[in-house]
């Protein structure tokens, strides 16, 4: 097993180099310079001043030199500094991660809590009205534009009912609150964003769960279990579920990179300073170091997520381990 993990880890390195190389050149291919955008087309900012800025940011050097310098910095665990405000990229990403991860973990938890039972029951009751209604329900969430649902809910709960705040993650007087008030304030602010992102993600997992459950229910050992007279509950929740959950383990592993990713539309609407907005703004401002930083961390997490999924899968399913050797 250790051998297997070590081999996989070594295999990650060339993939990582490939990913950074391609992304670095691609983002430099997109037209527009960061210094030009910073100046926002203001006649007060002269061409000479902008040329000076290019030089100070090292943008006058050839792209391959710029890439080499980026890699050299990275070898010292330095992601560089943002062109927009000269702050370290790691710091800019670091301050946005907690809220992004919090929302993603909460909504992922909510998705699993809702989607697994929905998937199981609709598999067990395949073809019934319940199955059809739940299918329609999860697909409504899947198909509905996030921003539209978000705005409707904000209008309902924020403006008309006045139960929840419209946007942001904290109230203005948050610092003066006591612990309980702080917790309630955060919960009230996060309620809608978490609900919306969970609702739109429900379809995927519940359908996986349903398919995988259906597949298992048709297996011979289930027939055996039923034949030896076990109660239906035990057949489903002990024998079938254990096996049907296997593919879901893979999905959890693959969700790891998603935990740091955010949606720009969603974060803009709720005024949440998360990763999606950071990435989008960086792209629009051609803030190369930040773009590279986000993509690099995303790439690492994706590769590690794949590895974790494979390893866990091998661990819970002996069949894989045997053939993997």
């Amino acid at each position: 097993m250790v051998n297997y993990i070590a081999r996989r880890l070594i295999g990650i390195l060339p993939v990582l180099i490939g990913i950074t190389l391609i992304t670095f050149f691609v983002i430099h291919l997109s037209p527009g310079k960061p210094t030009r955008l910073q100046a926002e087309m203001s006649p007060k900012i002269s061409l000479e001043a902008r040329e000076k800025l290019d030089k100070l940011y090292g943008l006058d050097k050839p792209v391959h030199i710029q890439y080499w310098e980026w890699v050299r910095r990275l070898a010292r665990f330095d992601l560089g500094k943002s062109f927009v405000d000269d702050r370290p990229v790691s710091q800019k990403i670091g301050e946005r991660l907690p809220v992004t991860i919090a929302i993603n973990v909460l909504s992922l938890a909510l998705i699993f809590l809702a989607a697994v039972p929905i998937g199981i029951t609709s598999a067990v009751k395949e073809g019934t009205a319940y199955d059809r209604i739940s299918t329609v329900f999860v697909f409504i969430g899947f198909a509905m534009p996030t921003f539209w649902l978000a705005l409707l809910l904000m209008n309902l709960f924020g403006v008309h009912l006045g139960w929840l705040p419209i946007s942001g993650i904290k109230s203005i007087d948050f610092e003066d609150y006591n612990l309980l008030e702080k917790f309630m304030d955060l919960a009230r602010h996060l309620a809608l964003p978490v609900f919306v992102s969970a609702f739109v993600g429900l379809a995927g997992i519940s359908r996986y769960m349903r398919t995988s459950m259906l597949e298992v229910l048709n297996k011979d050992f289930i027939r055996t279990a039923r034949a030896k007279g076990l109660p239906e509950n035990i057949v489903i929740y002990k024998h079938a579920l254990k096996n049907a959950l296997l593919p879901i383990v893979t999905i959890i592993g693959l969700s790891i990179p998603g935990l740091i990713g955010g949606s720009v539309i969603f974060e803009s609407i709720y005024a949440i300073p998360g990763m999606g907005k950071l990435f989008y703004d960086s792209v629009m401002a051609r803030d190369y170091p930040v773009i590279m930083g986000v993509l690099f961390i995303g790439a690492i997490l994706t590769l590690i997520g794949n590895l974790v999924a494979d390893v866990v899968y091998a661990y819970v399913d002996p069949r894989i381990r045997v053939s993997g050797r």
Partner: protein, 531 residues
């Protein structure tokens, strides 16, 4: 007797609370404003985006500023003298002004700010105006003498740049200093906190030289989505924003908004235009450009795009500016006249397909504008339709901003573009109109070249007297308007909305923000009292 006294007190309190901000009782409350984007740095000479500039404006002071009627007045400089035909400016600085940390403000701070502005290792985009300074001498603690290489009148207003504290920033790298996110200035508000992407909070400076501002806290919330901002407005979650024309005329026309908010409207300091590439053979003929102006119905665009909340632009200066030539009348909508002019220029529909042609070439061109600006997109479509009426086929192309600038504007690869300028208060527009400013990346990208305008632009920069300058810029206004390098479209109105509890707002040519430190909320209407 007892009753009389209490009645007297009652009347007194009524006067104090109900009318003017006389007593201590009017201090307090917070104002919450919303912005689409976050600031990037709070070092004034590095701040190039509007959010950073807005916050810097409250934390720092310049030597001079524009008053409510858009005339220059002293800020950190009490007064100034212009000598030697404009070569020398002597600033007499205000005494007794203190930085937020208590240190006195002196001429050394001005010198320090200047040296940073011209330092080649400082990432400031504003070095241009200051590189014309030959020397800056500190005559004494409160007097600074600036000598220019040649007279440069727009230079005076460049001293509105926020002055930075030497004692704190002297040994700092301005780009990465902690003071970029924890600034110390001399301005009416002190920095309190900045939560990236969330909010910036400022608190009033009790030591401010013009007196402590009445509103205790200034909260700058970052809400990237316009629809969200508007929902926040409906729950009174934000106090002040700029409205879109649609929000101004329709969505805020409800009993709720009439009760809780006040709307304001005044011309903004900018204009939208259709720029024509004068290097293009079609547009090098002045008759064609004039014909296009006749063919485009500016009023229709203002109605359609701004819902009437704007006015026709008549040249490179906004109507509120003293430089604007008030005698210029916009070119009226007259398609017949337009066709006549085009025929004179040789454009006629010879093959009967409805499109004008000349020497076998059809009159076709592309109007480009940037993505994310709906008014410009709508204006392009209206123009497209009107041009079709006179037999010109225009295609509209919307391009992402960065690509638009670098691939099309900078390289001169365009036929017509719809864009806008936001202007500084000084009318100097050398960089936009002088024939030397046509290199890639410079602002005269349409390739305008008029020897008389070139000469006048230089003269305008040498002259300090406003009357003399008015003459010069009025003439520039006329010349440029008659040449039609741009089809000047409209000056949009600024449409701020402010919660009704804020009193003391007095709209003036400069807008409403100029007397922000005098705004106040009567004690009993204050909303944010916990701090």
């Amino acid at each position: 007797m007892h009753i009389k006294i209490s009645r007297f007190v009652g009347i007194f309190l009524f006067i104090v609370w109900g009318h003017a901000p006389l007593g201590w009782s009017q201090y307090g409350d917070a104002i919450v404003t919303a912005s689409i984007g976050d600031a990037s740095t709070l070092i004034p000479i590095l701040a190039s985006d509007s959010s950073s500039a807005e916050i810097c404006g409250l934390i720092y002071n310049g030597l001079i500023k524009y008053d409510k009627n858009l005339n220059l007045e002293g800020e950190l400089a009490e007064s100034w003298e212009i000598k030697d035909g404009g070569l020398v400016i002597i600033f007499h600085l205000r005494k007794g002004v203190r930085w937020h940390d208590g240190e006195p403000f002196t001429a050394r701070d001005v010198e320090f700010t200047y040296l940073k502005l011209i330092d080649p290792n400082v990432k400031t985009p504003y070095s241009g105006d200051f590189e014309r300074v030959k020397s800056l001498e500190v005559l004494d603690e409160h007097t600074v003498k600036v000598t220019y290489k040649e007279p440069f009148s727009p230079g005076l207003s460049s001293w509105g740049m926020g002055i930075m504290p030497k004692h704190l920033l002297e040994n700092e790298d301005l780009s990465s200093t902690k003071y970029a996110r924890d600034p110390v200035g001399t301005g009416p508000y002190r920095f309190k906190e900045w939560k990236t992407g969330e909010k910036i909070v400022l608190v009033s400076n009790p030591d401010y030289y013009e007196g402590r501002p009445f509103i205790n806290r200034y909260i700058y919330r970052i809400i990237p989505d316009q629809a969200t901002t508007f929902l926040e407005l409906q729950t009174q979650g934000v106090d002040q924003i700029g409205l879109t024309p649609l929000q101004y005329s329709r969505q805020t026309d409800t009993p709720f908004f009439r009760k809780y908010y006040r709307k304001y409207k005044y011309p903004s300091f900018g204009y939208a235009y259709m720029g024509l590439n004068l290097r293009d053979a079609k547009f090098s003929d002045a008759r064609v450009r004039l014909a296009l102006d006749y063919a485009i119905d500016k009023d229709e665009i203002i109605t359609g795009v701004l819902l009437g909340l704007g006015r026709v632009s008549t040249g490179p200066f906004p109507p509120e500016s003293w430089a604007c030539n008030k005698d210029i009348k916009p070119v009226p909508y007259d398609p017949v006249k337009a066709k006549e002019l085009l025929r004179e220029a040789g454009w006629e529909d010879r093959d009967g397909d409805g499109i004008l042609d000349k020497d076998g070439q059809k009159f076709k061109f592309t109007i480009m504008t940037n993505q994310g600006n709906d008014p410009r997109k709508t204006a392009s479509e209206i123009i497209q339709r009107r041009l079709r009426d006179i037999g010109i086929e225009a295609e509209v192309r919307i391009i992402e901003w960065a690509t638009f600038l670098s691939e099309f504007i900078d390289k001169g690869k365009f036929e017509a573009v719809i864009m806008g300028w936001s202007l500084s208060r000084d009318p100097d527009c050398y960089d936009i109109w002088h024939s030397s400013k046509t290199r890639p990346g410079e602002f005269n990208f349409v390739g305008y070249n008029n020897a008389e305008v070139d000469k006048l632009l230089l003269e305008g920069r040498r002259e300090y007297g406003q009357e003399k300058r008015r003459e010069i810029y009025n003439r520039i206004n006329k010349l440029i308007f008659d040449d039609h390098p741009y089809i000047f479209l409209y000056v949009p109105d600024a449409l701020p909305i402010v919660h009704e509890r804020f009193k003391g707002i007095e709209p003036a040519p400069a807008g409403i923000g100029y007397n922000f430190i005098k705004w106040y909320v009567p004690k009993r209407e204050q909303r944010y009292t916990r701090w």
